[in-house]
């Protein structure tokens, strides 16, 4: 069985008479060790899919198994605990806690794990080292550049040693050099640590790093990027990645 299995996965929002279907009966299997790039225009359901896999949102219909667990059936508190050991989530805007140092931000997910202070310290140090940001451990987020903040956020996603890393446009707010460095870091996590990686991106260079690229449109997978999208992707690749609306 695959690491992540989606069967007829559907997410629906109803607002009055309006029905929005960000994900429409999606079938998808992702193997352990995959490095998947997920592309598609704004509003095509990319974030929705990541949030479902992370157990942040719940599907309206269909089945979603991660490591064999039907996560849609877990209670909210069980899901929170499951997520803290299985999923590392990386955001476009980093979402570091501004009042905590880099070290403390990375330590945050470990404070709810039953481990000793000594082991916690060792793991935080190791995650900071892996993310290449150990020298800035006592800096606050406002003292870091965007690329450095994203490294701290990656260290935070790694520190609980989850098998799955989900990244929602991790380079969307970075310049080209920083983007390249972050993508290389993510690639190493995939090849050297064997993390399963799903990256939502607008940046076509990501596809050079990914082992596989999927395109979403209107909540469905499409085999090839349609011409219009290909053009958009191309122009986006000329500069910085676009942000979602």
């Amino acid at each position: 069985m695959s690491l992540i299995e989606c069967r007829q996965l559907t997410k629906k929002y109803t607002r009055g008479d309006n029905e929005i279907i960000p994900l429409d009966e999606l079938d998808l299997s992702i193997e352990a060790g995959a490095f998947l790039a997920l592309m598609g225009p704004s509003g095509s359901g990319k974030t929705t899919l990541l949030n479902l896999i992370a157990g942040i949102d719940r599907p309206t219909a269909g089945e979603l198994r991660v490591e064999g667990t039907d996560i849609a059936r877990l209670s909210r508190s069980k899901l929170a605990r499951w997520r803290s050991t299985h999923i590392g989530y990386i955001f476009q805007l980093y979402h570091l806690v501004p009042v905590l140092t880099a070290y403390e931000n990375v330590e945050l997910p470990l404070l709810i794990q039953p481990i000793s202070r000594k082991e916690r310290h060792a793991r935080v140090a190791q995650a900071l080292e892996l993310a290449g940001i150990a020298d800035r451990h006592d800096h606050y987020p406002r003292q870091l550049s965007g690329g450095q903040e994203q490294r701290v956020a990656i260290a935070r996603s790694l520190v609980t040693d989850p098998p799955i890393l989900l990244a929602d446009e991790p380079t969307g707010d970075l310049d080209r050099a920083s983007s390249k460095a972050i993508l290389e870091l993510l690639l190493r996590l995939n090849t050297e640590l064997g993390k399963t990686l799903i990256i939502v991106t607008h940046d076509p260079t990501t596809t050079h790093y990914a082992k596989e690229t999927l395109h979403l449109e209107k909540g469905r997978l499409v085999s090839e990027a349609p011409p219009a999208l290909a053009a958009e992707v191309k122009s986006a690749g000329d500069g910085r990645g676009e942000r979602d609306a």
Partner: protein
């Protein structure tokens, strides 16, 4: 325990120092108000309550049970009361205090305006035996016929003058006539603390009366009890007397003032409520700015109650700091301050129970103030919070 570090709460307070200072001062004000009202109610209550073992009986003119000021007791009746067998005797001295109570306009020498009405009590030396709460703290008791008087500890506050104006040797004017201050007494937590005392005969002259307002006696429990006093008043109808336990007399006064206390409490609660609502408003804004952070913490695996607890911690730290400031300010500025009421004055009492009420109010303020904005902030599904 899966909780956020305490540091997270304390450091978040530093995010916006201006707002922090305002929040601390705001809760200090609310708590100070609670302390002031509690001190008022407690001061008023304690000035009208006496220790349970008090065995004093007041003989008043029949029909004047509610006010000693309006009571008239004839000298003959006082002589009969003095013979009551169950009255306490010590070293040949009988504990019988015939008294005149009149409210007089008193002013200090330096003051140009009409004096304030102040309760004045004319007494014999036995009054100091019967009213054991009275302690002479300076000078001596007034000599009859020498135009001398003695002032209680709250008289300065009652007259609205500085204590130096009431120093020994200073003069007070009654109807334009000078009286010199020869003594200071204190009777904390009693109505007497706000009174001026002089010789009984002197006050009878000033008030142009030859009768008394009341006779207060101390009973000796070994010799008899209140029933003896009641029987005397009931049998000698010709004396036109009523006997009341001193405790009951002040109890009735306290009941008379109960509506004022209730009003103070209601006003204080309303203002405190307003404070909480105002505080809520700032907190809603402060917490709403952190919706995304709350979402992130939930993605990292923090249970909602850990996040709620941390937000409540923040707010309780603020409110408790305000409460401490209010406690110190209240103790320093409010304790003992005289509050004038229709007749006389009582001192605000800021003691341990009042401070405890203030601190408790502060903590409740912190919890109650934090919960609605926190819960509001948590109501959003995580996915939506992250997009916020």
């Amino acid at each position: 325990m899966r909780l956020l570090p305490f540091d997270y709460a304390t450091r978040n307070l530093g995010r916006s120092p201006g707002r922090l200072v305002l929040a601390v001062l705001g809760s200090a004000l609310v708590v100070l108000l609670v302390i002031a009202s509690a001190a008022f109610v407690r001061g008023m209550g304690s000035s009208l309550s006496l220790p349970e073992e008090n065995s004093n009986v007041i003989f008043l003119g029949a029909g004047s049970e509610e006010s000693v000021e309006r009571s008239e007791v004839s000298t003959r009746a006082a002589e009969v009361v003095a013979t009551l067998p169950s009255v306490r005797t010590r070293l040949g001295e009988r504990y019988v205090s015939p008294e005149v109570h009149i409210a007089l306009a008193i002013r200090t020498e330096e003051s140009q305006v009409e004096g304030r009405l102040t309760p004045v009590r004319g007494v014999r030396p036995t009054a100091y035996l019967v009213h054991s709460q009275v302690h002479i703290v300076g000078g001596r008791t007034p000599t009859p016929g020498a135009d001398e008087l003695m002032v209680g500890g709250l008289v300065g506050g009652q007259l609205g003058v500085d204590a130096s104006r009431l120093a020994l040797g200073k003069t007070l004017l009654i109807d334009g006539r000078p009286w010199s201050i020869v003594g200071h007494f204190r009777a904390p937590h009693t109505v007497m603390d706000a009174e001026i005392w002089m010789a009984l005969t002197d006050l009878q002259v000033v008030g142009q009366r030859d009768d008394l307002s009341c006779v207060v006696v101390t009973l000796d429990p070994a010799l008899g009890d209140f029933t003896d006093a009641e029987v005397l008043a009931a049998q000698r109808l010709d004396l036109e007397l009523t006997a009341m336990r001193e405790v009951d007399y002040y109890g009735a006064l306290a009941r008379f003032y109960a509506p004022i206390r209730a009003m103070v409490l209601v006003t204080a609660s309303l203002i405190a409520l307003g404070g909480i609502l105002g505080g809520l408003n700032t907190m809603v804004a402060a917490f709403a700015a952190r919706v995304r952070e709350v979402g992130t913490l939930q993605v990292l695996g923090y249970p909602r109650r850990a996040i709620i607890l941390s937000f409540v911690q923040e707010s309780v730290i603020v409110a408790a700091t305000g409460a401490l400031i209010a406690g110190v300010v209240g103790k320093l500025l409010l304790d003992g301050i005289a509050v004038r009421f229709s007749m006389g004055a009582f001192g605000l009492v800021v003691d341990a129970p009042v401070l405890a009420i203030g601190i408790a109010a502060g903590i409740i303020l912190g919890i109650v103030g934090a919960l609605p904005p926190t819960l509001r902030c948590m109501k959003l599904p995580v996915g939506q919070a992250l997009r916020g």
